[in-house]
Subunit: 336 residues, 2 copies
């Protein structure tokens, strides 16, 4: 949410932010993966993500259940990126005439499966007629015991932790339409993305100073932590957790597997900044909580001094600027 | 929300309800104007409404600011219909290429105006590209001091209270395209609907046993209280608060002003069930809190015994079944 607006739309959201009203005391955080608001006598994380047919999913590739699952998963990932616990969801649904009741039930079934996976209650919704299938899921969550973890707290010297696999969703897109028998592991990453809220809570409890999920690409999303925190970051290419199957697929299509890993969107891995003395242990624990890699992959540095926001150190010693590597929903550009 | 699904879609929502998952303790109410969930250590009302270009608004009639206002107002009305206090909103927005940045800013400005009017913080959103303009606003609110007021508590003998004006939005639709100079009072009701949360809280505090807002038509929405509560209702046509300008407009177009009042959608009046000993005082206080009529317009009765759910007693002593009078977004039927 917030900065999950497509990258080409940065200017638009900058101009809209002043219009976001600030009733005294209600919004405790905005412009992050989720907002934190004072409501119901406590603090609640809230996030919304909109999925549009032909833009965020392809009904020729994803079943209605897959689409429903994804609509919930992307929001769970936003709550995970606050270190929070997802609790309850509502769904606004715009439904064209050619999408029948059976398909709407299958969409809801997929949402219900994802909700059950992550302990979320699907409590209601609004379904209206319209020319295109649009799902707008809003998810509410509790903040973690140490409070919400924002993007803005990374400090020079903090370690950069990655939890989860990279590159699988982008590699799946490279396969689609091009291969008769796509790698099922990659296809699953595209159709049934896995959010990592248990990892997010571990990272928050361990003292994460900043946290984000990789929705638009590792480079772009680390760049958001850097921009919000006033720091820069460097990552080590040798340790990036490139997902199984990505290297083979990249080789078949003449693509750079590293570029898929640092530029591919929708991996929903988590990136955290953590003090050096706790980073390794927290990374390992967070990975184990979800059954995915949890590694220290780099460091936050300061000051910026005109340097690129995010660089990737390659094996040959060169450094690549990856701060603009990512996916633009408007242009459907390939990963940079 | 929930039953704000178009009337032709009743069967669909009935089939979807079992898919709404019920994690232990989280949803305290669902299938009402808003859901009530346990999150953030307290109870939170949450509702979502989706507005689609060409279905719920017409860009030739409503400005972008009007559309933004309406997207917030319909949700504030849902929270009002729980007796709650609206607090924070997020907006999922699907934006076609022909709707430029300036229009999106104007939409957000209208949302911000409505949020300021009702003390709501607009805390974030997600804007994506797509073929049609869709706004999906989710609103969070506090429950009232006596807890959320559901649709299901009306008892035989309770008085039926109406707070707000009826028929204005339907009369505005009758004028549009047909009159060179539409009545500005009616046009305003269509373009800038007024939600009545202060009235909702008064009714809740006074002991309302059931509460709903008139989004699809008085007959249909009173019918929802009756269906949820296991009662029936009768209303007195002589005291229905028909909005100023409706009678004149109806006369010019050969329409029945009463039919506009009991069958017209989007009036966002509130209907409550209240014990007889407090009904008049509560109705008056709720109306005064918003500067609109607050009247005792009928009574809830039991048992059903095969009688129509909702009847309207006319001046000549006849009774009309108005329980199916309402607006179907799918068919764009005229009010019955």
């Amino acid at each position: 949410m917030g900065y999950s607006i497509p990258m080409g739309e940065f200017e638009l959201i900058e101009r809209l932010l002043p219009l976001l009203s600030t009733q005294e005391g209600v919004p405790l955080a905005a412009g992050d993966d989720a907002a934190v608001v004072a409501v119901g006598g406590g603090e609640v994380c809230v996030t919304v993500d909109v999925l549009v047919d032909g833009v965020h999913f392809d009904r020729a590739v994803s079943t209605p259940e897959d689409i429903g699952w994804k609509a919930v998963a992307v929001n769970v990932s936003d709550i995970a990126a606050m270190g929070g616990q997802p609790r309850a969801a509502v769904c606004g649904l715009c439904r064209p005439a050619e999408v029948g009741q059976a398909d709407i039930e299958r969409l809801y079934r997929g949402m219900a499966e994802a909700c059950e996976r992550w302990g979320v209650s699907l409590v209601g919704g609004d379904t209206v007629a319209g020319p295109v299938l649009v799902l707008s899921v809003t998810l509410l969550g509790d903040v973690g015991p140490g409070g919400a973890v924002l993007r803005s707290g990374a400090r020079p010297g903090d370690r950069l932790v990655v939890v989860g696999w990279l590159g699988a969703a982008a590699a799946a897109l490279a396969q689609l339409g091009a291969e008769a028998t796509p790698d099922p592991r990659l296809l699953a990453a595209h159709r049934r993305p896995q959010a990592l809220p248990a990892a997010g809570r571990r990272l928050g409890s361990a003292g994460a100073t900043a946290l984000i999920d990789v929705s638009d690409g590792l480079g772009a999303d680390v760049g958001r932590i850097c921009a919000a925190s006033g720091v820069r970051a460097t990552l080590d290419a040798a340790v990036l957790p490139v997902a199984p199957g990505v290297a083979d697929t990249a080789a078949r299509h003449g693509l750079d597997p590293l570029a898929l890993a640092y530029g591919g969107g929708e991996d929903f891995a988590l990136v955290a900044a953590l003090p050096p003395e706790v980073a390794h242990e927290a990374a390992t624990a967070a990975g184990l909580a979800e059954g995915v890699p949890g590694i220290v992959a780099g460091e936050f540095l300061g000051p910026r001094d005109g340097a690129p926001l995010v660089t990737l150190a390659l094996a040959d010693g060169t450094e690549v600027d990856i701060s603009t590597a990512g996916y633009d929903h408007y242009d459907r550009e390939a990963p940079a």
